[in-house]
């Protein structure tokens, strides 16, 4: 599945989400193309990467202060390593699929990444999981492509690839108009359904995960001036050696957009003031700054 919609998700999209977004709409003031006006125009001249605007790693946002003000780096740990490898793998697999290269071996590419040089965690397990994801995506993309070709036998292969694997993965976009970094990378843009996806490795759903697609939608609108009204968070995780993929599809309406703007302004303020927000009562065990903060 990953970025493909299953039957239920397609029905939900067509019967619920699309009619809802058409009916409710989005305030013009909150469309990304109004980046030069209130409330979209950034209050502080600070440019932040999307993950630092939206992440809820550290309850007080001290991670942001450490990263941007003190220029400290976190430490690799298992969840971070797994997340990075899976993101790379998904991007690699879809890139191959879009080129019609369904049979490229996984191990050669994986070896070349030299993850073991800097990552920490259970690396053999991470590799196993990555291979599962890789095989899964390529076999599914191949089947979609075959269906497309058999339905349109006189079409060009390239055309059918663009229609059957309609995903721009790790799509880079400039976020400066909205106070984001100049090089942002959107996990996936499904250009046939006009949905922006964000990939999360893990199964814990959280409302704040919707912020990232909302932020990307705003940036997308600021650059291309095309409305993006639907976002999706894709959750990938592994259970009993089985890959599990679930999606949360949602409208990117006023509420999410203004929530994202509030987060952006709040975090830019913190960086601008160079203020250490202090430590929370409890630090999440997976935080990459535990050794820096002395937890």
């Amino acid at each position: 599945m990953v970025y493909y919609l299953n039957e239920i998700e397609s029905k939900n999209l067509l019967k619920n989400l699309r009619p809802l977004t058409r009916k409710v709409g989005v305030s013009e003031d909150l469309r990304g193309w109004n980046w030069n006006r209130t409330p979209l125009s950034p209050y502080r001249p600070v440019l932040l990467p999307m993950y630092l605007i939206c992440s809820n790693y550290c309850p007080t946002s001290r991670d942001l202060y450490l990263k941007r003000v003190e220029k400290r780096r976190g430490e690799w740990n298992h969840p971070l390593s797994l997340g990075k490898v899976i993101h790379d793998t998904v991007a690699r697999a879809y890139t191959l699929a879009r080129e019609g290269e369904f049979d490229v071996p996984f191990d050669d590419w994986y070896r070349m990444q030299r993850y073991e040089d800097y990552m920490k965690g259970n690396l053999p397990l991470i590799q196993t999981y990555a291979r599962m994801v890789y095989d899964y995506i390529l076999s599914q993309a191949r089947s979609q492509f075959n269906v497309a070709m058999s339905s349109h036998p006189f079409s060009a292969k390239r055309d059918m690839l663009l229609a059957s694997v309609p995903f721009l993965v790790e799509h880079t976009i400039n976020g400066e108009l909205l106070g984001c970094s100049s090089v942002l990378s959107i996990d996936c843009y499904d250009y046939l359904h006009n949905i922006i996806f964000d990939l999360k490795v893990g199964g814990n759903r959280d409302e704040t995960h919707r912020l990232q697609p909302a932020g990307y939608a705003l940036v997308f609108e600021s650059i291309y001036e095309i409305p993006v009204d639907i976002g999706g968070t894709v959750y990938l995780w592994f259970q009993n050696n089985q890959l599990i993929a679930r999606k949360d599809l949602f409208p990117i309406g006023d509420h999410l957009r203004s929530w994202w703007l509030e987060m952006r302004d709040r975090r830019a303020e913190l960086v601008h003031e160079e203020r250490d927000p202090g430590m929370p009562a409890e630090c999440p065990p997976s935080c990459i700054y535990r050794s820096v903060c002395g937890v």
Partner: protein, 345 residues
């Protein structure tokens, strides 16, 4: 048409062929200036000097239409509402919950929402001024932060009854509101002489405008409270006082900033209102008829305007009604939580 406003002098509201008609005196005769089916109406506002027939009252009541009368200050001088169903259970719970944690939670929810809306208004005005007037923008931003601090202190207030928390909550609300109006005064043209919120007897044009706007909002909240089956006099945050619609005042808190303050500031910033539109009579600042009409139409248009909230498109007046119904549901135990209305910008 959902709301009929009868404004001006010498107008008459009556019934003709089952329709509600507004007639105006022209010389010695009356001519019809407006006709509507009572089933199309939700509210009739009598804002000027006129008269109405008992037939009209009867027809309006029969169709569940609210009838309110505004005085020159915009105060609601009288209201006629049709009888309600399903109020006993709601009201019983409303009185009972006053002495419970639920009542305390409601009191807190109203003020939490109010503070969040104050923050939103200040944040929006700060952003619009960041290029042209950075000092004012900064003052607004700092005020927003102060209110945010007070709002986070509010979260630690807990109690098992309204009486246990009301003093503390109102103290915090007073601080936040002081900060808010002090910051807002910086964006109002000095010629209006506005430097603080004076409440009922306006000493300056801005307070006069706000009072008038809040009164119109009060009419809308009253209607919502009534239709939700709540007792307008049984509040949680505002002290019970004879004749004081405390529940209505509680609900208003969530809507003042987004509905009235923003509309008023818009009229001022668009220079649609000038100091010469006001005069002081017996120590109270009064607006002239044209200004009163302008404010009334701006606010009534706003009530019919749409707002996107919780991924739904609401008319403001429906949203107010929805919130009142949510209060009633919470009191009856049909929902576990009441969330006040607030927007982030």
């Amino acid at each position: 048409m959902e709301r009929l406003v009868v404004d001006g002098w010498g107008r008459f509201l009556g019934v003709e062929d089952g329709q509600i008609v507004v007639k105006e005196r022209k010389g010695k005769s009356y001519s019809v200036i407006c006709r509507s089916l009572p089933s199309d109406l939700r509210q009739v506002v009598i804002a000027g000097k006129g008269s109405l027939s008992s037939d009209a009252i009867d027809v309006l009541a029969h169709h569940g239409v609210d009838l309110i009368f505004l005085d020159w200050r915009g105060g609601v001088s009288a209201r006629l509402s049709p009888p309600m169903l399903r109020t006993v259970n709601t009201r019983r719970e409303q009185y009972r919950c006053y002495d419970t944690e639920k009542g305390a939670a409601l009191a807190k929810a109203f003020i939490r929402a109010k503070m969040k809306n104050q923050m939103a208004v200040l944040g929006t005005y700060a952003k619009t001024r960041v290029q042209a007037d950075p000092n004012t923008a900064e003052a607004l931003r700092v005020a927003r932060e102060s209110i945010e601090r007070i709002a986070s202190e509010l979260e630690s207030v807990s109690g098992t009854a309204c009486d246990a928390v009301r003093g503390t909550i109102m103290g915090m609300e007073g601080c936040a509101t002081g900060v808010y109006w002090n910051a807002i005064s910086k964006i109002v043209d000095e010629s209006f002489g506005f430097n603080h919120r004076s409440g009922r007897y306006a000493g300056d044009p801005v307070n006069a405008l706000l009072n008038y706007g809040y009164a119109i909002l009060e009419g809308e909240c009253w209607r919502a409270v009534h239709y939700a089956g709540l007792d307008p006099y049984g509040g949680f945050l505002h002290v019970d006082r004879p004749g004081r619609a405390s529940m209505v005042y509680d609900l208003i808190e969530e809507f003042r900033q987004q509905v009235v303050d923003k509309s008023t500031l818009k009229l001022l910033s668009h220079r649609q209102i000038r100091t010469e539109n006001f005069e002081v009579v017996d120590g109270v600042c009064r607006m002239d008829d044209a200004t009163r009409r302008l404010v009334l139409s701006e606010l009534l248009m706003k009530m019919d305007d749409r707002v996107r909230y919780k991924d739904k498109l609401w008319r403001w007046s429906d949203l107010i009604l929805h919130q009142a119904r949510e209060v009633a549901k919470f009191l009856r135990g049909e929902s576990g939580k009441y969330e006040g209305f607030w927007l982030r910008w």
